[in-house]
Symmetry: C2
């Protein structure tokens, strides 16, 4: 099978000194993958001419498509554009459409436009300009020795706009793209190595063009089947067969056979049932509410949350009896049950989640070490509560607690059916 | 000046299909940078022997240190260890210390240990083992043709533990490391190009071994001066001089001359004043509470939050007069002021932030388009309220709103002094 390979080059000293986390490459890789272009390599280099040129040379050796991001901003540390101009043997020239667009943006925002802003309208004369609706630096499309080079701004929002509106539609037209299908499912409550042992026989039964991958995150493990072939229809049938087998194999731990994250699975159940959720969060500090409300349309299924970080708020806003906290502590089954009952009463929601724990690094005791968490979930009729022990850093403990809490509620809701 | 270069190679198909965002490289780059090792290049390749070998060959051409992460997990798609074993001309051998550690972990957690788990104790016979306290896959240190190769597991928590406990202490001993100093400051309320225009003359006055970089994020711009030299003491004096000048240049927008993010600057002011904060969040959905509580010790300065996603909760838990919402809408100056007053009253906190807006993609109207946000901040005596317009996607609008809200409170608190 023919394979069209791509490379992604990200440019900028901020990537090499680690001040910026590169989220662009992952987005670009996903989008390319969907149309059957396989990313062979990703390279990050600094704002240094020699290294940029070497990366372009190397990438073009084994890639039909090279996507470059970064280094097109308005500030002086950016050298990408002159390097590209040189590499493709051209000269910089103002593009009038881009210049008009820049004038419009800055006139509107600041009432004036500077020379520095207008310089962004200069592009190598031999490139095809990809118009950037969301910002000032345009994308640029070059071809050299049958390799396509596409340069995009590094600002994620602008890069995404260009990928979706210009890059993918154009690359889709390349002849000879294979069919690639990814089928994903999400499991919770089981570790990567246990699930891998369990799936050994299944994995050995897969044909060579279908691969299984394990993607663990925050206590959940995502499983992905990837199939590549010539004929999309046949491929869909084949991967569908194996995917059904896989679902049966992991049914005890299966959260969803879609690409939805845990929080969106819960939201979907609530949307389907026309019901609502509220959270009473101590140790998760609003993170569960944030996960739920990150999805558009969440106002239909999410009433709100009380982030009861202090015990006073647990007693005042959630009406937890202060004697419960005195007798059992803020991190206890009794307290999370009372918090869940309190938020159900205060908000009139159908379901509630409550969390209380010690996220670290301080605050642990012999009896309740760092990572001890109590979670309650349920409705007015019934609540379940479970104790967990996480052993990571604060950030990860918060994320693990949120996922465990959402999973506890999910199991509760599924068991109701 | 001599320069010790490093390369970072990350291995895993999940990086190339974009299912995982690589945060490891940024962390490793930061830690290397602090000890004067400059990362020249970062490369990501798939689980494919040829590509891993090519990446190792290339990296060793221009780097004294090559750090490899990923591909050491327990599942079958991992091929890094056999490839490394082959590359360094060795054979796999069980390391007994690591085997004992794996037995202990799995016995404790599952009451048994599998063959698959124990396979992680196999390491190439000629490597130095870096013991992984946080997980099962050990780090490995190789030397070949005067280049150091260090292989680490890809799980961020485990990789970090090994970098901090083993890798950095050992690399620090390399002869000839230069002094590198980074001085950072954070600005808010001004765009990258405006600040760059303003700093043109200052930037031109910098000597060649001191560089200024602009790092925009969520409406704030971080500025970083980096100096490299032989003598750390002299270098500190020199960069200190330019940093003082820089602070004067940007004083109107200066948030902090430290590396703290906005939320930690606020926390620090509150710690110093022994005062507390509470938030009443509609459109930010708990994200501000999450930012504040992500920092250890936040319980001393953060009372809690009401995430009032529905109007009912605005009226019940925050005691916003329903007539205010009827007359002016949920996204209005009057509503956010009432929300802020409500949360101050309910929690007894010293300060409050309230947010209400339309984050998109739906919910906008002609009068109040997507991105319209009202924010209030202040205390019992006085509240300020400001309207903002953000024009990004939902995720970014939430992040920008949170940063703008924190900055509004910060300015309020600073002006009180």
């Amino acid at each position: 099978m023919k394979e069209i390979n791509a490379s992604i080059i990200t440019i900028g000293d901020e990537l090499l000194i680690g001040q910026t986390i590169d989220t662009n490459s992952a987005f670009i890789a996903q989008e390319l993958n969907k149309i059957g272009i396989w990313v062979r390599k990703r390279i990050a280099v600094g704002d240094r001419k020699d290294d940029i040129v070497t990366a372009l040379d190397e990438a073009s050796l084994y890639s039909k498509v090279v996507i470059i991001t970064g280094g097109l901003g308005p500030t002086a540390d950016d050298i990408t554009k002159p390097v590209l101009c040189d590499y493709f043997g051209s000269t910089l020239k103002v593009n009038e459409d881009v210049a008009d667009h820049i004038r419009e943006i800055f006139q509107k925002k600041y009432g004036q436009v500077s020379e520095r802003n207008l310089k962004q309208a200069e592009v190598p004369a031999n490139c095809k300009v990809l118009f950037n609706k969301r910002g000032t630096a345009p994308g640029m499309w070059f071809e050299k020795n049958e390799v396509i080079f596409i340069s995009l701004p590094g600002v994620p929002h602008e890069m995404k706009g260009l990928i979706e509106a210009s890059v993918i539609p154009a690359l889709k037209e390349l002849p000879g793209l294979p069919a690639v299908l990814h089928y994903n499912l999400l499991t919770a409550g089981v570790g990567e190595s246990v699930i891998a042992d369990h799936l050994q026989t299944f994995e050995d039964s897969l044909p060579p063009h279908i691969k299984l991958a394990y993607l663990p995150s925050y206590g959940n493990v995502k499983l992905r089947l990837t199939a590549r072939g010539e004929n999309e229809e046949e491929l869909a049938k084949e991967i569908g067969f194996y995917f059904d087998q896989l679902k049966i194999q992991v049914k005890t731990w299966l959260v969803t056979d879609s690409e939805l994250p845990m929080q969106d699975v819960i939201s979907q159940i609530l949307v389907d049932r026309k019901q609502t959720l509220a959270t009473a969060e101590s140790c998760t500090g609003g993170f569960i509410a944030h996960l739920i409300t990150s999805k558009a349309g969440s106002s239909a299924i999410f009433s709100g949350s009380v982030v009861a970080y202090s015990n006073d708020i647990k007693t005042s806003l959630l009406e937890v009896d202060s004697k419960i906290i005195e007798d059992h502590g803020a991190v206890s089954e009794q307290t999370v049950r009372a918090m869940a009952s309190g938020i159900l009463k205060q908000t009139g929601s159908d379901y509630a989640i409550a969390t209380s724990g010690i996220m670290g690094p301080g605050g642990g005791t012999m009896e309740k070490p760092v990572g001890t968490v109590w979670i309650a979930a349920g409705n007015k009729q019934n609540l379940v509560a479970t104790k967990f022990h996480f052993r990571f850093d604060r950030k990860r403990n918060i994320e693990m607690t949120a996922q465990a809490a959402l999973n506890l509620l999910r199991i509760f809701m599924v068991n109701e059916e």
